[in-house]
C-alpha cells in the first residue's frame, strides 16, 4: 500500500474519530476500573462460606436489573417492575449462583447512562466483599487488614465519603420516595438486601471459627429469605449498619458510614430513575452525577453540606 494512501486513510480515520468524539464530548468519560485490593484472604467468603456468598451474588443482580428496567420502562410500569423484574431477581437469587454476574450484561443501558455512578458502586461493593472476606478468613490481624483495605479504598477518586451523612436530608429531594411509593414490593426487597449486607457483620466477627461463623449467619439468612418471600413493606427507612451490627459500626465507624452512604445512594438513584420530575435520560444522568459529585464522593468532603458534624446528630 503506498505511503500516501496510508496517510490519507489515517487522516480520514482521525478526522472521523474527532468529529465523533466532539458530537458526544459531553459524555466523554474515562472508564477507570481498578483491581480489588490483592491479599491472601481474597475470595475467603466464596471458598469457605458459599452459603452466604451466593446470596450476595444474587444481590448483585438485583440492583442492576432494577435500574435497567426502571430506565427502559420510564419508571411508570408497575407490573414490569413489581412482577417481572422483581421475580427475575428472586429467581436469580434462588438459583444460588456460585459467581457474581457481570452487571454490564444485566444493565447495558444504565451502565452507558451513568458509568461514573456505577464505578462508584463497584468500588464500594469491592470494599464490602473485602470486609466479608477478612471476617471469614483466618487472617490473624483483622483490624490491620481492614485498615489496609480501607486505605486502599479511600485512595480511589471514586471513594464514597467515610463521613456520616444526613440521610434524612438526602431523602428529602423533590423526587425522593418516588420509588418506594410506586414500587413498595421491590423497594422492600432492596432494603432486605441491605439488611443482609449489614446484619452479618457482628455475628461473623464475633464467631471464633468457621463452623461458628457458618452457624452464626444462618438465622440472618433465614430472616432474609423470609423478607424475600414477604417483603417488609412496613419499613419506612433503609436498614442502617449501626442498628443491625452495632459492634462493627463502633469498631469501624468509617466503614459503617461508607456502607450506609452507599445504600442511600442506591435509594437516590432508584428515585431519580422512577421520577417524572426528571423526564429525560439526560436529566436523570445529570442529577445522578450531581448527587454523586456533590454529596457522596469523598473528594467533595470539604464542601459537602450533607456531612453531619457529630454522631449524635444522626437519627432516623
Amino acid at each position: 500500500m503506498p505511503i500516501t494512501t496510508i496517510i490519507r486513510s489515517l487522516a480520514l480515520v482521525t478526522s472521523a474519530a474527532i468529529a465523533f468524539s466532539s458530537a458526544g464530548c459531553g459524555q466523554f468519560e474515562p472508564r477507570d476500573k481498578r483491581f480489588y485490593y490483592r491479599a491472601l484472604w481474597n475470595f475467603s467468603l466464596r471458598e469457605d462460606l458459599a452459603e452466604l456468598d451466593s446470596e450476595f451474588n444474587g444481590v448483585d443482580f438485583g440492583h442492576s436489573n432494577l435500574y435497567e428496567n426502571l430506565l427502559l420502562t420510564g419508571g411508570r410500569d408497575v407490573p414490569a417492575i413489581e412482577e417481572r423484574a422483581r421475580k427475575e431477581t428472586l429467581a436469580f437469587i434462588a438459583s444460588k449462583p456460585r459467581l457474581n454476574p457481570n452487571e454490564e450484561a444485566i444493565a447495558p443501558t444504565y451502565m452507558k447512562l451513568a458509568w461514573r455512578a456505577q464505578n462508584t458502586f463497584d468500588e464500594a461493593h469491592a470494599l464490602h466483599r473485602a470486609t466479608y472476606d477478612i471476617a471469614v478468613s483466618d487472617e490473624p490481624d483483622k483490624d490491620r487488614a481492614i485498615r489496609n483495605v480501607l486505605a486502599y479504598y479511600k485512595d480511589s477518586a471514586y471513594a464514597i465519603t467515610s463521613k456520616l451523612l444526613d440521610h434524612r436530608r438526602l431523602d428529602g429531594f423533590p423526587y425522593s420516595k418516588t420509588f418506594r411509593q410506586r414500587f413498595p414490593l421491590f423497594n422492600a426487597t432492596i432494603w432486605s438486601y441491605h439488611y443482609l449486607q449489614v446484619a452479618v457483620y457482628d455475628p461473623l466477627l464475633a464467631a471464633p471459627d468457621l463452623p461458628a461463623k457458618t452457624q452464626a449467619v444462618r438465622p440472618i439468612l433465614a430472616t432474609y429469605r423470609r423478607y424475600l418471600d414477604v417483603p417488609p413493606v412496613d419499613w419506612t427507612f433503609m436498614p442502617l449498619t449501626a442498628e443491625l451490627s452495632p459492634q462493627f459500626a463502633a469498631r469501624y465507624p468509617e466503614l459503617a458510614h461508607i456502607f450506609d452512604n452507599l445504600h442511600m445512594l442506591h435509594d437516590n438513584i432508584s428515585d431519580i430513575l422512577a421520577s417524572e420530575r426528571l423526564p429525560t435520560w439526560e436529566s436523570k444522568r445529570a442529577e445522578i452525577y450531581r448527587l454523586v459529585n456533590t454529596y457522596y464522593l469523598a473528594a467533595a468532603d470539604a464542601t459537602n453540606p450533607m456531612i453531619l458534624s457529630t454522631e449524635g446528630a444522626h437519627h432516623h
Binding site: R31, R34, A126
Partner: protein, 245 residues
C-alpha cells in the same frame, strides 16, 4: 481483555483479548493493578502446506489507569516456514490504551501499539503495529471493530513491507437472566497476505469464553478462511485458559 469484571471476579469472560480465543480485541483494558496469565494452543490446518500449531503464552498487566501492557512470545511448530511479522520465538510487547467508557452517545475507543522484537527463528528487524479499536453495544449485543497496520522492520524475500488488517465482530452474553458465565463471539476478518501479489486472507471465526471460577476463564474457538492464497487456513482451532490475580 476489558475491565467488565464486577468486584468479585479477578477475570471476566466478557473481556476480549486477541487469540482468546479469536483474533479480536475490545476497547477496554483490564483494571488498573490486575495481572493476567494467559495461554493457549492454536492449530492452523492449511489448504496447502503443513499444519501449524502455535503455543501462545502471554502476561498482561493493568499498569496504569485504562492501560494494559502485554508481553507475549508465540512458539510455532515448523518455524522455518513462517512468513510475515509474527515469527516463532519473537518477543512481543504491546500497550492497549482505552480512551473512554461507552456512553449513550459515544462508543468506547482504544488504541493498541505493538512491537515484535527479532528474538525468534529467521526473524530480522523490529516489526511495529498500530490498531484502532471501537466497541459499541446494542442492548446486550456488543459490536467491535478493529483496524490495524503492521510495518515490518526488515522484510525478507517476497514479504510485504506492511500489511493491514480489519476485523468486525459481535459478542453476546449467553443465558440472561439466569446465567452469566458464557460469552459467544463471532468475527469476520480480512488481512493482507504476508507475501506480495497474493489475495487477502478473509475468514470467519466463532469462539466461546467461559467463566470457570472467580480467577479462571476458559476459551475455545473455530474458524476458516474462505478467500486468500493457496496456503490459507482450511480450519483454525484454539483452546486456552486465562488466570487473573
Amino acid at each position: 481483555m476489558a475491565g467488565l469484571a464486577g468486584p468479585a471476579l479477578a477475570l471476566d469472560h466478557d473481556n476480549l483479548d486477541p487469540n482468546r480465543p479469536i483474533g479480536l480485541e475490545d476497547a477496554y483494558a483490564i483494571p488498573k493493578g490486575e495481572i493476567g496469565l494467559e495461554g493457549g494452543v492454536r492449530f492452523n490446518d492449511r489448504r496447502e502446506g503443513r499444519t501449524h500449531v502455535t503455543f501462545q503464552p502471554q502476561i498482561i498487566y493493568g499498569a496504569f489507569a485504562n492501560a494494559q501492557i502485554e508481553m507475549q512470545g508465540d512458539l510455532f511448530t515448523d518455524p522455518q516456514s513462517l512468513v510475515g511479522a509474527n515469527k516463532s520465538g519473537d518477543l512481543h510487547l504491546g500497550l492497549l490504551y482505552n480512551f473512554n467508557t461507552e456512553t449513550l452517545n459515544l462508543p468506547a475507543l482504544a488504541v493498541r501499539v505493538e512491537a515484535d522484537f527479532p528474538t525468534g527463528v529467521n526473524s530480522k528487524g523490529v516489526d511495529t503495529q498500530l490498531t484502532g479499536i471501537l466497541t459499541r453495544s446494542f442492548g446486550r449485543l456488543r459490536v467491535h471493530l478493529n483496524g490495524g497496520y503492521t510495518i515490518l522492520g526488515s522484510p525478507q524475500g517476497q514479504e510485504r513491507p506492511g500489511t493491514y488488517r480489519a476485523v468486525a465482530a459481535v459478542s453476546y452474553p449467553l443465558g440472561y437472566p439466569g446465567w452469566f458465565r458464557d460469552t459467544l463471539i463471532v468475527s469476520l476478518y480480512t488481512r493482507q497476505s504476508d507475501r506480495q501479489g497474493q489475495r487477502n486472507h478473509t475468514g470467519v471465526e466463532i469462539g466461546l469464553r467461559h467463566q470457570l471460577t472467580s480467577r479462571v476463564v476458559l476459551d475455545g474457538g473455530l474458524g476458516t478462511e474462505f478467500m486468500g492464497p493457496s496456503e490459507r487456513a482450511a480450519l483454525l482451532g484454539t483452546v486456552g485458559v486465562s488466570v487473573g490475580f
